[in-house]
């Protein structure tokens, strides 16, 4: 049992953070950054995040796991067909990785290889179904596995998505397909999170709210223009614009969001994008 699954089961508020694998083979900075994380239950390892090619998430997660850091392996459908997804999952199990965040993945268009052919042989619901199958000892075509993996599969959701009901249809499918926890897209508005958590109640699946550290109004505008599913409301952009010290303001905003998560959710997922030293400030 992973710590993440145990803590969520026991009702303890969990904190996850994330690390992006390097562009290249130099792992030391990523490993050192994770060493400094404090009070974190598990660290998400992103998978060619934003469709930018980097060292494989599985490789970094395996290293972290062996160094004693619990990871959440992110795995997207963008770059692998169903065979590659299954073999990567079995590989992950061999390295002791249990927590998974199973995603469709941002379109290749957004990254540094826009000419790449996006795969999407499976979608995130089918990926969850397949993972449940592996855990039950069979591959996608029903062949028995010699050695069965144990996973704690999670899925992603954007609680602010509109139309809400359409987004929630998919959430229900993900739960039916074996999602045991959700990590959300960055939260910026209390009312969106509240509405979402109300709908989640009958499903009884823990939700870890995404909290993004926004360092400046400029960054907020960049996110709004370039990152799928992220819309920083104007009120927050204005607040960062007016702030004498935008970084402290960003930390304050993140801290408020963590407060909402403590009230409504089962944990927070901190996305500090390299400013890991701000984590204690966000969590106080």
């Amino acid at each position: 049992m992973s710590h993440l699954s145990e803590q969520l089961a026991s009702g303890r508020f969990v904190v996850t953070a994330e690390i992006a694998p390097p562009k290249g083979t130099h792992l030391a900075p990523a490993l050192a950054a994770v060493e400094k994380f404090e009070g974190i239950t598990a660290v998400n390892v992103t998978d060619n995040q934003g469709a930018n090619m980097r060292l494989s998430s599985l490789a970094l997660a395996a290293q972290l796991q062996q160094a004693g850091t619990e990871t959440v392996l992110q795995l997207t459908c963008r770059d692998r067909n169903r065979m590659a997804l299954q073999s990567d999952l079995l590989g992950a199990a061999a390295f002791g990785i249990e927590n998974l965040l199973l995603l469709s993945g941002d379109h290749s268009k957004f990254g540094d290889h826009p000419d790449a052919r996006p795969v999407f042989d499976l979608d995130s619901v089918q990926l969850l179904d397949m993972t449940a199958g592996l855990m039950a000892g069979v591959d996608m075509v029903g062949n028995a596995l010699n050695g069965v993996p144990h996973f704690f599969p999670g899925a992603a959701v954007n609680p602010a998505a509109d139309p809400f009901e359409l987004m929630f249809q998919k959430v229900s499918k993900k739960v039916a397909s074996g999602a045991r926890f959700f990590q959300t897209q960055s939260i910026f508005e209390y009312k969106n999170l509240e509405r979402f958590m109300l709908s989640m109640e009958p499903l009884n699946v823990p939700v870890i709210a995404g909290v993004l550290l926004i360092r400046s109004a400029k960054m907020a505008r960049f996110l709004n223009a370039n990152i799928p599913g992220v819309q920083v409301p104007k009120a927050l952009v204005d607040r960062l614009d007016r702030a004498a010290d935008p970084m402290s303001e960003g930390v304050a905003i993140a801290r408020e969001t963590v407060g909402w998560a403590r009230e409504l959710c089962q944990g927070v997922h901190l996305m500090t994008l390299g400013h890991d030293d701000k984590i204690p400030g966000i969590l106080t």
Partner: protein
């Protein structure tokens, strides 16, 4: 129909650099309809070739360049002009180009890029709605194809990139899953949302496609 467009002229200039005399082939079907390889475009292309100091030995617009036998027959009617040319330039889709390349001895230069199977919204506006996957789900999705019109071809609902009912890859593009959802609602049915759609059977799309009518169907 197959939507195609003229290759960049610089690329064609390069491809034609070793030839002096050319025979031109157009197609009266799709390439004519999308103004890439009809009579008018063949004429314009001929003018461009002359400006490049090439000689055009003749031209023909074949009824359906994708019909291998008919293309061969039509070309036979121009065998002298074809014989006099160093190469044959084809302004047709990739299928048409290959009908010609399989029937003439001469080098064949394709002049168009083929893009997609397109619907006509209005003249000059084409949209891809079907990707010929061989495993059609339209009856469950209110007649809107997610395999094609969802940028990721997702089968179980929208991705996290949906913003205000629009697609993450193009804010002008409506999210296919949003359209499916709205139309199913207006028809008062659940359709595809009633089940978890299993992974698609891509073996129907195995390349190269081959299909033969059975004896009784011909």
């Amino acid at each position: 129909m197959i939507i195609s467009e003229l290759k960049p002229l610089e690329e064609l200039q390069q491809a034609l650099s070793e030839f002096d005399k050319l025979f031109l082939v157009g197609c009266a079907a799709c390439a004519t309809a999308c103004k890439a390889g009809g009579e008018e475009e063949i004429f314009k292309f001929q003018e461009w070739l002359v400006a490049q100091e090439k000689e055009v030995t003749g031209s023909v617009v074949i009824d359906e360049a994708c019909h291998i036998m008919r293309a061969a027959r039509d070309l036979r009617h121009h065998k002298n002009a074809v014989r006099d040319a160093d190469a044959v330039v084809v302004l047709a889709c990739g299928s048409g180009i290959q009908s010609i390349s399989s029937t003439v001895e001469k080098r064949v230069v394709g002049g168009l890029n083929s893009m997609f199977l397109g619907n006509v919204r209005r003249f000059g506006h084409y949209e891809e709605m079907c990707s010929l996957c061989g495993d059609c789900i339209l009856n469950e999705t209110a007649g809107i194809c997610p395999v094609t019109t969802c940028a990721k071809g997702l089968l179980n609902g929208p991705c996290g990139g949906m913003e205000d009912g629009h697609c993450e890859i193009d804010a002008e593009l409506e999210c296919a899953w949003c359209l499916i959802y709205e139309r199913l609602q207006s028809q008062d049915r659940q359709g595809v949302f009633a089940r978890r759609v299993p992974p698609k059977n891509w073996s129907h799309r195995r390349k190269p496609g081959r299909y033969r009518l059975k004896d009784g169907e011909r």
